[in-house]
C-alpha cells in the first residue's frame, strides 16, 4: 500500500482578518509529484506557507507521512523533513555558495542516498566551480539551482517548490525540468507550485487546482491533460 506523503484536511488560513484558504483538503502519495495550480492570488503560496509553518492554520490538520505538523514551528517542520524552495529563490546573497549549502545541511536517518555537497554539485555542475563565490553574484538560473540544492541538503522527505521556473530563460527552464524529473525518478515526493502549466503537467502525477482559496479540482494529471475547459475555467490559460 502506498504511503501518504502529505495530507491537508479542512485547512483554513487567514492573514489577520483576510480569509485566504477555505477548507482546503488534499493528499498525495510518497514518490509522486503534486502540481498545485491556480491563478494569481488563488492561495498557492499561502498554502505553501501554511505547510512550512510560516502561517499556522486557523483550523484543520496537516500530516506529513502520517504525523501531524500543522501547529509546529517552521524549524521543527523542516527537521521533520519538509524542504522548501521559495518563490524568488531567496538565497543568502552575502554567504558563499558553499555556505549557502552547508548551512542547510541536515542528516536524516534512513535516507538511502543522502544529499551531500558533492552530490548537489554533481546534480548542478555549474555550482561546483563557484563554491567560494558570494551567492549574490550568481545569475538567476544559478541562484535557482542553489535554492534547490540548499533545500536538498536538508535531505527532505517532502520537497515544496514555489514557482521554480519563474523569471528564468527557456534554456534554464528546460534544465530545471530535467532536474525535477530526475528527483522524481529518485523517489523524491514533491509539491510543485507553477504558473508554467505545461511544465507542471509534464512533471506531475497529481494535480490540485485552487480557485479563490478553495480546492476547485483534485485528481490525476491524466484527468487534466486535454481537458481545456477545466484548465480555462480554473487557470484561465490555454
Amino acid at each position: 500500500m502506498a504511503t501518504e506523503a502529505l495530507a491537508l484536511a479542512g485547512i483554513n488560513a487567514l492573514y489577520a482578518d483576510s480569509h485566504v484558504l477555505h477548507d482546503v483538503s488534499f493528499s498525495f502519495n510518497a514518490g509522486r509529484v503534486l502540481a498545485l495550480l491556480g491563478r494569481n492570488g488563488a492561495g498557492k503560496t499561502t498554502c505553501m506557507s501554511t505547510i512550512i509553518g510560516f502561517l499556522p492554520p486557523r483550523d484543520g490538520e496537516i500530516r506529513l507521512f502520517g504525523e501531524p505538523i500543522g501547529r509546529l514551528m517552521p524549524e521543527t517542520i523542516s527537521r521533520k523533513g519538509v524542504g522548501f524552495v521559495p518563490q524568488g529563490r531567496r538565497i543568502f546573497p552575502t554567504l558563499t555558495v558553499r555556505e549557502n549549502l552547508t548551512v542547510a545541511r541536515q542528516s536524516r536517518g534512513g535516507a538511502a542516498k543522502p544529499w551531500t555537497l558533492d552530490r548537489v554539485c554533481e546534480l548542478f555542475p555549474g555550482l561546483k566551480g563557484r563554491l567560494q563565490q558570494p551567492a549574490g553574484s550568481l545569475s538567476g538560473g544559478e541562484q535557482q539551482m542553489l535554492a534547490i540544492g540548499r533545500a536538498l541538503m536538508g535531505n527532505p522527505r517532502l520537497l515544496l517548490m514555489d514557482e521554480p521556473s519563474e523569471g528564468l530563460a527557456p534554456r534554464i527552464v528546460a534544465e530545471m525540468r530535467r532536474t525535477i524529473a530526475r528527483l522524481k525518478q529518485e523517489g523524491q515526493s514533491i509539491v510543485l507550485v507553477e504558473q508554467n502549466i505545461k511544465l507542471a503537467l509534464d512533471l506531475a502525477d497529481d494535480v490540485v487546482m485552487l480557485n479563490t482559496g478553495r480546492v476547485a479540482f483534485a485528481g490525476s494529471v491524466d484527468e487534466v491533460r486535454g481537458n481545456e475547459a477545466l484548465i480555462t475555467q480554473h487557470l484561465g490559460v490555454f
Binding site: 517552521p74 552547508t102 548551512v103
Partner: protein, 310 residues
C-alpha cells in the same frame, strides 16, 4: 605585496612599536587594543547578527566593577577574580540576552539600552558598594609569571597578545558554519527557520558570546585604568563602541579595529588640542557615512580595487 607580507609587516610594526614610540603613544595603543576587542565583540551582534545594541557597555562595565569589587572587598587575587568575573558576566549576558531577544530591531536596541541603564543607575546610586560618582580606586594590574604589567610596554604586549587571540577566535567563530548560520539569520531569518534553524537560539548564543568578549575587554579596561567609574557603563560608552563598528565597517573583521582606533585617537589625542573633540568625532562620522556608507574598511577596499583596476 601579498596578504602574508602585509601581515608580517604589521606584526613587526606592532612588536617594535614600544621601542620607537613614547609612553603616551604606547598607552594610547593599549587603549586602542581594548577598544578593538570591545568593538569586535559588539560587531558580532551588529555586523554579523544584524542586532544593533546600545547596551554593550553593560558587559565591559560589569566585568570591570566585579573585578574591582572582588579585589577591594574580598581581597582576591587577579588570577582568581578573572575567571569568576568572566563567568559571572557571561551569565549576566545569558539573562540579558534572554530578555532583549524577546524583540528584534528597534525594540531590541531599546531593551539593550534599558538593561545597561539599569546597571549604570545601580553603579551611580549604590554608593555603599560602588562609591557612586567617586568610582572605585586603589586597584592594581596583574603580574603574570612575575612580570609586572605596570610598565607601559609590558601592558602593551599583554593587551596585544590578548587582542590578537581574541580577534583570531572571533574570526574563527564568524567563519565557522555557526557563523554562516548567524549571517543567514541576519539576512533572512524566516528562511533560516525554514531550513531547520532555531533563529532565536542562534542569536542568543551570539549575544552570550559577544557578552563574554565584552567582559574580556572590561577586565583589560580596569587593569589599564586601575580605576572604575559609572561612566564605563553609560550610554556614551556603548555608543562609542557602536560608532567604532559603524565607522570602521560592520560585518568585517578589520572594520571594528579601525573604527575603535579612530574613536580612541580622537578621544585621547585630538581632545588634547581641540576642546570640542566630540563635535569633530560627529563630523568625521557624518563624513564617513556620506562618502563611505559601508564604513572605512569596505570603502578603502573599494577604492583600492578601483585604483588597481585602472
Amino acid at each position: 605585496m601579498s596578504r602574508v607580507a602585509w601581515l608580517a609587516l604589521l606584526a613587526v610594526l606592532l612588536a617594535g612599536f614600544p621601542w620607537i614610540a613614547g609612553e603616551f603613544y604606547v598607552n594610547l595603543t593599549s587603549q586602542i587594543f581594548i577598544a578593538a576587542i570591545f568593538a569586535a565583540s559588539l560587531n558580532l551582534l551588529v555586523g554579523y547578527g544584524g542586532l544593533p545594541s546600545l547596551g554593550h557597555a553593560a558587559f565591559l562595565g560589569m566585568a570591570a566593577y566585579l573585578s574591582a569589587l572582588l579585589y577591594l572587598k574580598l581581597g582576591l587575587g587577579h588570577w582568581i577574580t578573572a575567571p569568576i568575573v568572566l563567568a559571572a558576566t557571561t551569565l549576566m549576558a545569558c539573562v540579558f540576552g534572554w530578555i532583549a531577544l524577546r524583540a528584534t530591531g528597534l525594540s531590541f536596541l531599546m531593551l539593550t539600552l534599558a538593561l545597561s541603564q539599569v546597571l549604570w543607575g545601580t553603579a551611580y546610586r549604590w554608593v555603599a558598594v560602588t562609591e557612586g560618582d567617586n568610582g572605585l580606586r586603589g586597584l592594581t594590574r596583574p603580574a603574570p609569571f612575575g612580570i609586572s604589567l605596570d610598565d607601559p610596554a609590558a601592558f602593551y604586549y599583554f593587551t596585544l597578545a590578548i587582542t590578537v587571540l581574541a580577534i583570531w577566535i572571533m574570526a574563527r567563530f564568524v567563519g565557522s558554519s555557526f557563523g554562516a548560520a548567524l549571517r543567514g539569520t541576519r539576512d533572512q531569518p524566516r528562511r533560516m527557520s525554514a531550513l531547520g534553524h532555531n533563529v532565536w537560539l542562534i542569536r542568543w548564543i551570539t549575544f552570550v558570546y559577544a557578552g563574554f568578549w565584552g567582559a574580556v575587554s572590561g577586565l583589560l579596561f580596569v587593569y589599564y585604568n586601575k580605576y572604575i567609574h559609572p561612566a564605563s557603563l553609560s550610554l556614551t560608552s556603548s555608543a562609542e563602541g557602536l560608532l567604532g563598528v559603524i565607522a570602521g565597517g560592520s560585518g568585517t573583521l578589520a572594520g571594528p579595529i579601525v573604527g575603535a582606533a579612530l574613536v580612541m585617537i580622537l578621544k585621547n589625542y585630538v581632545s588634547a588640542y581641540i576642546e570640542r573633540w566630540n563635535m569633530l568625532l560627529g563630523f568625521v562620522f557624518v563624513m564617513i557615512v556620506i562618502f563611505m556608507p559601508d564604513g572605512l574598511v569596505p570603502g578603502i577596499r573599494r577604492l583600492w580595487a578601483r585604483w588597481k583596476a585602472k
